[in-house]
Structures are given as structure tokens and as C-alpha cells.
């Protein structure tokens, strides 16, 4: 049901193209005229002949992949050790990756293919409009021998939207341009070309006698016996609503902590690289009929993260983005991220995702060096990376990095929590990165395990110093003027407090002696040993005397000190009460001992002592209260 509308719209735009074509200057891209001239003038350079080439161009996504299977024959007299591939400059500037595989033999006996190094060269005598890549063969190709070679070339930005601006409802139409013939410095005997399209909807394509459109595949050829540098432009105009997510800028930051964590942070700037949207964006259309009203937009990106990724977040400059989903199993972590708004043609958005990985999966040790081995590319499917940053822990030395392709390397310093000299940073920059670059790269460095303890020790030292500073502050006298009245008053007050404290201690000792006497009385009632009881009495007497001697200077000090005027009455009371208590206790003691000596009955003793006992208990209570009050008032 969706098709008719698309067809109608498509028909209109294709008609527009044909009109333009009649004017002969309308088509967005056409091969530069120079190239055509050049093709006629240049001639074969080498004795190689390509006996057969099959090309498959994949246009299903916005990354164009061209896979050419070549069968090369050496028709000349000399052995040849290199093979050249040619691309027009216009294409070569969009070339993101090129890979060549080489295999010997045929059919079943075919040896496993070997990837060969492919380098850019500028051979002499070749037209400057072409860019050449050279592949060195592992062993020279002898005269008359053939070899098989597969070449994969990956292009970005090679699909041009036409029309350049579409409305929200339109499907996105793209133009792809290439040569129907395989462009090569060698003569080609037989060749064919297949173009895979995302769907069968094609507006127009350059027609040759033997061109077929089967489902979603466009076939050209076979063409036979073409001279070197044959070029015949073809143009395919087709519908492709594949999300044109172009990561304009991606900074991946890998921060290694030897406590067992690698924190990866990725900053994205994503644009929709397809046809720009014209007119407004209608939410109601988008909401109610997303499939047709918004076909060319995308609202979901999927990132494939390594397994065991955790602590994943997704945010941008203004905060967390809540529309994301996560599926994880033991082999992979799939992270679905929805930008804040659907991305239509020409729209852009930026965001950051971050996650942590267990370090042991990526970090190894060899020859005393540590090796970080992790992939370069970005986890988004079909997207492109620009800059990669590896942050190593503070204290790493002897850093070197190696990547399987050319990158611009530099070193920086980053400061994170508790860093003093900063963490060494290795920056690897490369533009035009495609999923084919998702290869492992290595960073080598030395790091001592002792450095791990540096930051905890720093923290501990910091706190230790803080406490020491507090102690020092509490124990030093910071007064500027040692003679000012307030300072002296403070000193005196401190002394008064200390004295009161000492007085309290002495009273505590008094009470202890009291208790001793009481216990001696108890012993007496149990054992009847009058002598030991008397001895205890004697000891207590001397102790009381000593304490009184000790107490005296303090009391005189407190009495004389104006600062103690508030406390003094209480101290005085305390002294009086204690004295009274002491007297009563002595009295009790003598009474009990006397009674024992007279062998009086228990009841009698009790009667005699009863009143004393009551008084003592009351006094004890009062003394305790006083001591307590003193201790609180001195605050």
C-alpha cells in the first residue's frame, strides 16, 4: 500500500532528471571530460593482461563496497612482481580502505587467500587524473602464468542524494556513478559488473545493450576485449532509505586504570548525510505514519559493545538521555541508542556514550611491558571514526603504539582525579574510518605496580597531615599579644578549669578511701578481724591527711582567683560536705569497731549506727551531685 505514493513521487523526480539530461548540464555528477580524452591517448604499460574480472558493487548502505575478482595473466616476456590498480582521483579521494587478497591455483586446490600490502604509488608516465595503488606479489608472476586476486575497495561519501532536498514524506533517492568498464592500466579480456541495490526501486540507470535489472540487482556485461584505461560512465539513480548516519567526528577515549578497569568514552557528532529536509517537520505525520512520513530519517542507532561491558551511560551536553536500551549476553553487549529527536536529512546531533570494560580482557604483559590490545573502530554499525585517544595511568613510561594502518600519532597529558604530573595520553588520528578498520591496535608501555599505591597513599598522607595540623593547632598558642587582658584572663580561666578538674580527682580519691573504710567494716562483720580493720582505719587516716595536704594549695588558688568566683561556693560546699561525711564515717567506724570489741549483738550495732548511716547516705548523694554539677559547669 505504500508503494504507489513512492512511485508517483519517484516518477516526478525522475522526469526532472531526464529533463535535465536533455539540457546536458543537469546531472549532478558526470565524469570529467578530461578523463575521456585521456583514456583514448594512454596506452598499456605492462605486459599483464586481465583475463577476467568480475566486479560487485554493494550500494545497500551508505558505504560503497566494490569487490573485484581478477584473474591476471602475464602475457609479456618478463616476470612481473607488482600489479597496479587505478582509480579516478574523484573516487580515490573517497577511498577509505583497500584490501587485496591473493590466492594461487584454481577451484578446490585453491590455497587460502593471503592479504597483500597495498600502497599508493605515482608511477611515471601515467595520467595525473588517476591514482594508482600497487600490490607487490609475494612471488613474481612468470611468463604465461596466471593468478587470482580479490580486491575490496571501500568508499565513503560516494552516493549523492538527488534531489538534494526532500520533504519529510519523500523517499531518499541517490545517484551513484562509476564506470561500466573496469578501469585498469591493463587490457581486460572479459569482464562483468553487478550492482546490488537496497531494493528494486530504481529511477533510472544508464542502459547498455546487455544490461539487466533482476530484483534488486543490476547487471552489466559481459564486455569483452577492452583496451587499457577503458572508461564508460554509468549512473544509477535509486532509492535508498538506509540510515545515513555519518559520524562527522568521533573521539574515543580509552582510560586505563590498573585497578582493573578500562573506561571508554566516545564523543559523537552525527549527521544525516543524505538528502536535506526541506519544509518543516510535522510531528503528527511522523507519529501516525512513520513508515512513509519519515522514511529517510533514523531514530535508532545500535552500538555493539564488547562483552562484559558495564556502567554504560548515554548523555550529551545538557544531560542524560533516557531513551536507550541494552541487551547483554556472554558474547556481546548490544546498546540501542535513540537520539533525542529523529534525525532527518541534514540534521545533526551530538552525544557521548561511555562504558567500562574489565581490564584483563584487553591488557596483557610481555617482556615486562604492558600491551593494550583493543579495536580501533567505533561500535556503531556502519559509521566512521576520526580521533582515538588512549589515556594511560599516571606514571607510565616508554610508550609506543602500533596500528595496522596509518594513523597520525601524538602525545598529550591529561589530568584526572589526584594526578600531579598527569596521565600520558596517546592520540591516534585517522579520518575516513569504515568498519573495515575495526582492527586491533596495540599500545606498549611500562608501568610499575607500585605506582598503583601512589594515590591511596597520597590521600592517606593528606588526611594524616590534616589531622596533624589540627593537633598542632589545638596545642599551639596563636595569641599575638601575650600581655593583653583578655589573653591573660583566658590563661587564668584555663588554669581554673584545670584546677577544678584536679579538685574533682581528689574528691574521687576521697570517695575511694571512704569506700575502702566501708568495705573494711564489711570484712569485719564477716571475719571479725578487728586488727585489720583498725589497720585500714590507720591507712585511711594517713591518706586523708595526704589528700588534704594536696588539696590545700588548690583551694587557696581557687579562692583567690576572680575567674573561679562562680564555682567557688560549690567547691566550698563540696569541701564542707566531704569533711562532714568524713567525720560521720569515722564516727561510724569507731562505733562499729567498739561494738565488735564489746561483742555487742548485730541488732545493737545496727541501731547505734542507723542514724549515722542515713546521714552518710544523704551526704554521699549530695557530694555526688555536687561533683556532677561541677563537671558540667566547668564546660
Amino acid at each position: 500500500s505504500l508503494t504507489p505514493r513512492g512511485r508517483v513521487l519517484g516518477a516526478q523526480s525522475s522526469r526532472a532528471i531526464r529533463d535535465d539530461d536533455d539540457d546536458d548540464d543537469g546531472f549532478p555528477i558526470r565524469p570529467p571530460p578530461l578523463l575521456r580524452l585521456l583514456l583514448l591517448s594512454s596506452s598499456a604499460r605492462s605486459d599483464l593482461v586481465i583475463s577476467r574480472v568480475d566486479r560487485q558493487i554493494d550500494l545497500t548502505s551508505h558505504i560503497v563496497r566494490v569487490l573485484s575478482s581478477l584473474k591476471i595473466e602475464n602475457a609479456g616476456p618478463d616476470a612481473v612482481s607488482e600489479v597496479l590498480f587505478a582509480f579516478p582521483n574523484m573516487q580515490a579521494k573517497n577511498l577509505a580502505a583497500i584490501k587485496t587478497f591473493y590466492s594461487e591455483g584454481k577451484g578446490k586446490g585453491k590455497s587460502p587467500s593471503i592479504a597483500l600490502p597495498t600502497v599508493i604509488v605515482q608511477p611515471e608516465g601515467m595520467p595525473p587524473e588517476l591514482t594508482f595503488y600497487s600490490v607487490a606479489l609475494p612471488k613474481s608472476l612468470e611468463k604465461g602464468k596466471t593468478l587470482n586476486m580479490d580486491m575490496l575497495a571501500v568508499f565513503t561519501h560516494s552516493l549523492t542524494p538527488f534531489p538534494e532536498e526532500i520533504t519529510q514524506a519523500d523517499a531518499q533517492l541517490l545517484v551513484y556513478q562509476d564506470s561500466a568498464y573496469y578501469l585498469s592500466p591493463y587490457a581486460v579480456k572479459v569482464q562483468s559488473l553487478g550492482i546490488r541495490l537496497p531494493n528494486g526501486r530504481v529511477e533510472s540507470y544508464t542502459k547498455y545493450p546487455n544490461t539487466k535489472l533482476v530484483d534488486s540487482e543490476l547487471k552489466y556485461g559481459p564486455f569483452e576485449s577492452l583496451p587499457p584505461f577503458s572508461y564508460s560512465p554509468i549512473i544509477v539513480h535509486f532509492e535508498n532509505n538506509h540510515p545515513f548516519a555519518v559520524v562527522q567526528e568521533l573521539t574515543r577515549e580509552i582510560e586505563i586504570s590498573h585497578w582493573g578497569n578500562a573506561q571508554i568514552t566516545e564523543h559523537y557528532t552525527i549527521v544525516h548525510g543524505g538528502a536535506r529536509t526541506k519544509g518543516g517537520f510535522s510531528r503528527i505525520d511522523y507519529q501516525m505514519r512513520t513508515n512513509i512520513r519519515g522514511t529517510s530519517s533514523f531514530s535508532l542507532l545500535t552500538a555493539l559493545l564488547p562483552p562484559r561491558a558495564h556502567s554504560i551511560y548515554y548523555r550529551d551536553e545538557i544531560g542524560n538521555i533516557s531513551t536507550s536500551t541494552l541487551w547483554a549476553d556472554s558474547r556481546k553487549t548490544q546498546f540501542g541508542i535513540q537520539p533525542r529527536f529523529p534525525i532527518f536529512g541534514g540534521w545533526r546531533t551530538t552525544f557521548t556514550i561511555g562504558y567500562s570494560l574489565p581490564l584483563q580482557d584487553f591488557l596483557f604483559e610481555s617482556d615486562g611491558k604492558r600491551v593494550l590490545n583493543i579495536t580501533y573502530g567505533c561500535p556503531l554499525q556502519e559509521a566512521v571514526v576520526d580521533k582515538l585517544i588512549v589515556v594511560l595511568p599516571e606514571g607510565s613510561k616508554d610508550i609506543s603504539a602500533s596500528a595496522p594502518f596509518h594513523t597520525k600519532q601524538s602525545e598529550e597529558v591529561k589530568y584526572s582525579h589526584l594526578d600531579i604530573v598527569g596521565r600520558p595520553v596517546v592520540v591516534l588520528e585517522k579520518t575516513n574510518v569504515v568498519p573495515e578498520h575495526n582492527l586491533y591496535f596495540q599500545v606498549f608501555y611500562r608501568f610499575s605496580n607500585l605506582s598503583l599505591l601512589r594515590e591511596p597513599l597520597m590521600l592517606a598522607t593528606g588526611f594524616f597531615l590534616l589531622f596533624v595540623a589540627c593537633i598542632v593547632y589545638m596545642h599551639t598558642d596563636m595569641a599575638i599579644s601575650k600581655t593583653s587582658a583578655s589573653y591573660l584572663a583566658k590563661l587564668q580561666w584555663d588554669e581554673v578549669q584545670a584546677t577544678v578538674q584536679r579538685v574533682q580527682n581528689i574528691f574521687d580519691q576521697y570517695l575511694k578511701v571512704h569506700d575502702k573504710l566501708e568495705s573494711s567494716l564489711r570484712d569485719l562483720s564477716r571475719t571479725g578481724d578487728v586488727q585489720s580493720c583498725k589497720a585500714a582505719r590507720k591507712a585511711a587516716d594517713t591518706q586523708f591527711k595526704e589528700l588534704a595536704k594536696e588539696l590545700k594549695p588548690m583551694l587557696t588558688f581557687l579562692q583567690s582567683s576572680p575567674q573561679a568566683s562562680q564555682i567557688w561556693p560549690k567547691i566550698e560546699e563540696l569541701v564542707a560536705k566531704e569533711r562532714e561525711m568524713q567525720e560521720k564515717l569515722m564516727q561510724k567506724h569507731s562505733t562499729v569497731v567498739e561494738c565488735f570489741e564489746k561483742k555487742l549483738g548485730g541488732r545493737e550495732v545496727e541501731n547505734r549506727v542507723a542514724s549515722l548511716q542515713q546521714k552518710l547516705a544523704a551526704l554521699r548523694q549530695e557530694v555526688d551531685n555536687l561533683l556532677e554539677i561541677n563537671s558540667t559547669t566547668t564546660l
Binding site: G279, G280, F281, S282, R283, I284, Q287, E317, I318, G319, N320, I321, S322, R340, F341, W347, R348, T349, T350, Y415, S416, H417, D419, I420, Q501, D508, L511, K512, H514, D515, E518, S519, L521, R522, L524, S525, R526, V592, C595, F596, G602, R603, E604, V605, E606, V609, A610, S611, Q613, Q614, K615, L616, A617, A618, R620, N625, S631, T632, T634, L635
Partner: protein, 731 residues
Amino acid sequence: MGANSASSSSSSSPLPIPFVPSLKTLRLKTKQQELLIRLSALALIYVLAFAIRLFSVLRYESMIHEFDPYFNYRTTLFLTRNGFYEFWNWFDSESWYPLGRIIGGTLYPGLMVTAALIYRALRLLTFAVHIREVCVLTAPFFAANTTLVAYFFGKEIWDSGAGLAAAALIAICPGYISRSVAGSYDNEGVAIFALLLTFYLFVKAVNTGSLAWSLASAFGYFYMVSAWGGYVFIINLVPLYVLVLLVTGRYSMRLYVAYNCMYVLGMLLAMQIRFVGFQHVQSGEHMAAMGVFFLLQVFYFLDWVKYILNDARLFQSFLKITLTCAISVGALALGIGTASGYISPWTGRFYSLLDPTYAKDHIPIIASVSEHQPTAWSSFMFDFHILLFLFPAGLYFCFKRLSDATIFVVMYGLTSMYFAGVMVRLILVAAPAMCLISAVAVSATIKNLTTLIRTKSKSPQATSGKGSASSKASAKASVDQSLPFQRNAAIALLIGAFYLLSRYAIHCTWVTSEAYSSPSIVLSARREDGSRVIFDDYREAYFWLRQNTPPDAKIMSWWDYGYQITAMGNRTVIVDNNTWNNTHIATVGRAMSSYEDEAYEIMQSLDVDYVLVVFGGVTGYSSDDINKFLWMVRIGGGVFPVIKEPDYLVNGEYRVDKGAAPKMLNCLMYKLSYYRFGELITERDKPSGYDRARGVEIGNKDITLEYLEEAFTTSNWIVRIYKVKPPKNRW
């Protein structure tokens, strides 16, 4: 055996004592114990005050809330990136297009400078924090510091127990939390700390008469002036307090030293803030302080003369002459100053504080802000809970033990309560006073009750062994007779008090978590099954603006969203929340209330590229532009009489359905809000175009736009952005 029993009975009470000294030596001294308990309680309160404000971070994320904080955040960002001088001289062309705004001269820089300093300090200590985290946590941090100030203040006016109670109460007081949750990066966050600190230091200065304390209070005042316009409250309350002390005969040298030092230094320091400038000597709002300053001098002079003359009759006549002269000179100076325009009259905001009805009649832009509405009883209850009942009790205790400090806190409490009644947002200012006075009540009550219980718990121990032989014991026993009942009552009351306080704690936690922790920029709702839905439409729209409009695009929206658009969308706005130019806002209001073609002309004259409206019809979000629309009409009509409020009403009723006024159905705001809404079915069993925020089917479903086109609408339709089409070719 008899002796045995006698001695055992006699030793029954002293028996436990031998163990006590040994235990005492192991334990800390009572003084140290008390200190330890007090310090740990204070530390816990400090942590609690910080932690309770983190609900929003846990529930949402570490983000800036509301509207104004976005401006503060943006300026802080600028300050940390470009340094203080750049910040001070910053001319911001992104707001108030085409007028621009001199940021350095039109803001209170205290908050930003504080946050930037904290940020620098953390960086210096090698903590690699982001400035946003610092901004988000500034308010909770200062709220925690406020508890410390409250403790010392409470200690100053009553005792350390009241201080602890005040710290605990203010730590979780919802009235204060409402403005100091994490992310609420607003001036009030640090200003309440500064306010209380200034008051505390001033009271301390009055109590001690120390120059050092009054100097400190002047600096506290300076910080307050740099942080918030509410400093006017201080500069009026302090002289009022001095006046009351003078009138009640509590004038002292201490007061003289404290006030003069604080006023003179505070005034000079405050002049360093560009936004305040010379207002201390030029504005009517600050004249009370100056008057009291001169009055104090006269008072001191008279005191001195009285001492010199030493003659009551002579002094009386001298007093008459001096007073007449002083008053007439003062009145003359004030009269000339006002007449010549040197002293500016009171501003509308000041009037509206004294008279709640003033704003409604004269300044619609002040009245349109919901937080400027008079306070309802329910919000008093919501924000203060038991403090409302403890407040009068605390006043009773304060009057019972009147001192300079308690007079201050009573005056602070009463005046701030009045202002809290006038404006909802000033509940914030009243909160510390409420907490302090309530703390006095709590502390005094609990102390009284516990002393009752403690004396009781001791006397039985003392009397138990003695029987009733001695006169002392019998006296105690007679007291005992009345005590059990009293004691039980005390215990019951204590339990009641603890119950109330725990209810308060529960209420505060609940209020904080439910009401005060939503960032208002991210909305959330509960589905029927209890799961939470998040509406992140604001940020969706702002981020769209940031990414997909030209960098020099000018956005027109109602002023509420101005700060957010500049901070998050990074685009120029026509008006924003700094409502300094009423005419400019009225122009926007006029554009919104005009027909599309008239509005187009206004928008062309303002260079508008995009128009942003907030619409809650799909989600049922009620604080959208349609509900604010009448204020736009009023504010627009206040300057441009062509806009008349009755045109948008039907019989005085505001409606958007079929019965709405024709002008209403065709004005720009209506069209932009409901454009193509008529095709949408929002609720089952309801016709299309059913507005869920207002519960009606809209009256104009067939809206076409001629001069604007829909540029973006967020996923829940909350924010709708329209592009203003370029003018048509003339031929």
C-alpha cells in the same frame, strides 16, 4: 549474724559505688562525653542536611533545575572559562535581542563566584570534577553549612541544646529544602546561609560589643549583598531591631559599636557590587538604615552631653533643641533628596511586599509569577508542619527570658512571617527564623521535662535505703507523693514531643522526595501500572534548537523559557527571565495575542526566526502557554492598549473550546499551540482534538498557518517550534 545483716543493709546503697570510679576512669569525662555527643550529632545533622537534598539526583540525574538556575549555570560556566574580569565586563548579546544585557552589571555575582571558587579549590586539590557537579551540589553544601550557623545562632540566643535542635530542624525544613535541593542552583541557595550568618554575627557582635564580630557581620552582609536581592531585608530589619532596642531602653555601647561598624563597612562593601552600586545612599529602601545610623549618633551624643552637663533640667532643654534640629534636618534631607530625584522612591517590588494587593493592580509581570502569589494556609502547613505550632511556644519562651538576642530573633521571626504571608517564595526567608524559635521551644520543653524526670529518678534511690526516719528523708518522701503523677505526665509529654518531632522528620522526608525534588525540566508521570514515564521534551526541543538551527537564530518565546533556551539551546532569545524591560516583554505578549498577520509584522521587526511555545494538551501538562496566556494578554495590554483582555474572554470566562472568543480562537498563541492538534486523538472515547490539560475539545480544529511553518514538535508535543517564513517576494 545480726551484725552481718546490719552491715549488709547499711552497705546496700554504697555497694555499687566502688565500681563507679573505676568505670569513670575508663569512660570519658562527662564534659568530653557531652562534647563528643554534641559534635557527632552536629556532624550527623550536617550529613543529613546534605543527603536529604540528593533525592533529585538519585531519582533523575545530576542536572540543573527550573529556570533561573540555568542562567546561573551559564554564567558560572562563562566565569570558569573566561575568568573574572571577562565575566564582570560581559555583554551578553544572546539575550534580550536586540538590546542585549550587560551581565556583570545586572546580576548578583555571589553564587557564581562561590561555585567557581569551590571548583578552583577542588581542581587545586586534584579532583577533576566538572563545573556542573559543583553547581548542582552548591545548594546542598550551603544548606549543610546553614545548619552549623543555626547551631551557633541557637547557642547564642538560648543554649547549645537549642542550637542542636535548630540545626536539626533547619536541616530538613521543607520551606528551606524547596530552594536548596541538589540542582537548584539559585541565589537563594547560598543567600539563606549568608542571611543567617549575617544575623548570627550581628547578634554575636551586639552580645559581645566586639569590633571583630561586627566586622565579621559586615563581611557576612557583603556576601549576602553579592548573592541575593533579599539583602534589603537585612538592611531594614537590623535598623528596626536597633530602633526597638533604643525604644525599650536597651541601648548600650555594645549595640553602638556593633551597628555602626556593621552599617558603615557593610554599606561600603556593598557598593562594590555593581548591581547594587550607590543604592545604599540613593534608594528609598535603604534610607531606614541610614536614618537609624544618624539616630544612634544623636543618641550617643546626647548621652555624652548628659554625662557632661550632669544636670537634668539643662539636659531636658538641650534634648528638646537637639531632637527638633535632628528631626527637621533629617526630614529636610529626605524631602530634598526625594524631590530632586537623588533618592529614588520605593520600587514596585518593595511596595508589593508591604501591600499584597499592590502588584495585582499595578505590575502584572510580578503578579504573573506563581511564586509571588500570597501564601495559602496549606503551603504554610506543607512547608513548616509542626513548626507552625512550635513557633508561638518558642515566642513564649523567648519573651520569658528576654535578652538582646531573643529580641532579635523574635523580630526576625515576626517580620519574616509577615512577608512569608505576602509571597510564597519568602517562606524561605521565614524558615530559619521558624526553626530557631521552634528550637527554643523544643529545647526548653525537653529540658524541663527531662529535669523533672531525672530528679525523680534519683530521689527514690536516695530514699530507698533510709526509710523515713530523718526529717530530710520525710520531706523528700512528701514530695514523692505528688511526683509520680507529675513524672508520668512528664514522660507522656516527652513521648508526645518525640512523636511530634518524628512526624516532622517523616513529613519533611516525604515532602522532599515527592514535591521538591523534581527538576521541572524533566517531567515524570506514573502510569496506571505504577511504572514511571519520563517526558524529556524540553531538552529534546532545546537540543534540537542547538543542533539544527543556524547559530545566530533568534527565538521568540514567553519569557519563562528564555534562560533555558540560551543555556541549553545556545540561541539568542528575545526576552528571558530577567524581566528588566517590561516593554520588550509586552511586545512579545502582544505578538502572541495578535492575529497571525499582525504578529508577523511584530516578529519581523524583532528579527525573529523561530517561535517556541509550550503546549500540554497531549500530556495534560497544565503549566503550558495556553494557561499562561491571559498574563501575556495582560502584560501586553498594559503597554499596548490595542490588546484588551475582554476580547479573549467570554462573559469573563477563559475558554478554548467552541464557545471561546473569536479573537482567542485566531490569535497566534492559540494557532501555534493547536496547529494540527485537531487531527490527533489524545484519549480513547474522546473526539479528536481533545485537550487533556483543560479537558475540552478545542474550538478551532482547522488551523492553517500562513507566515509560519512547523519546524519541530517534541515527541509528547510539549514544546512546539515554528519557523518564521522569510518575507514573500514583492513581485
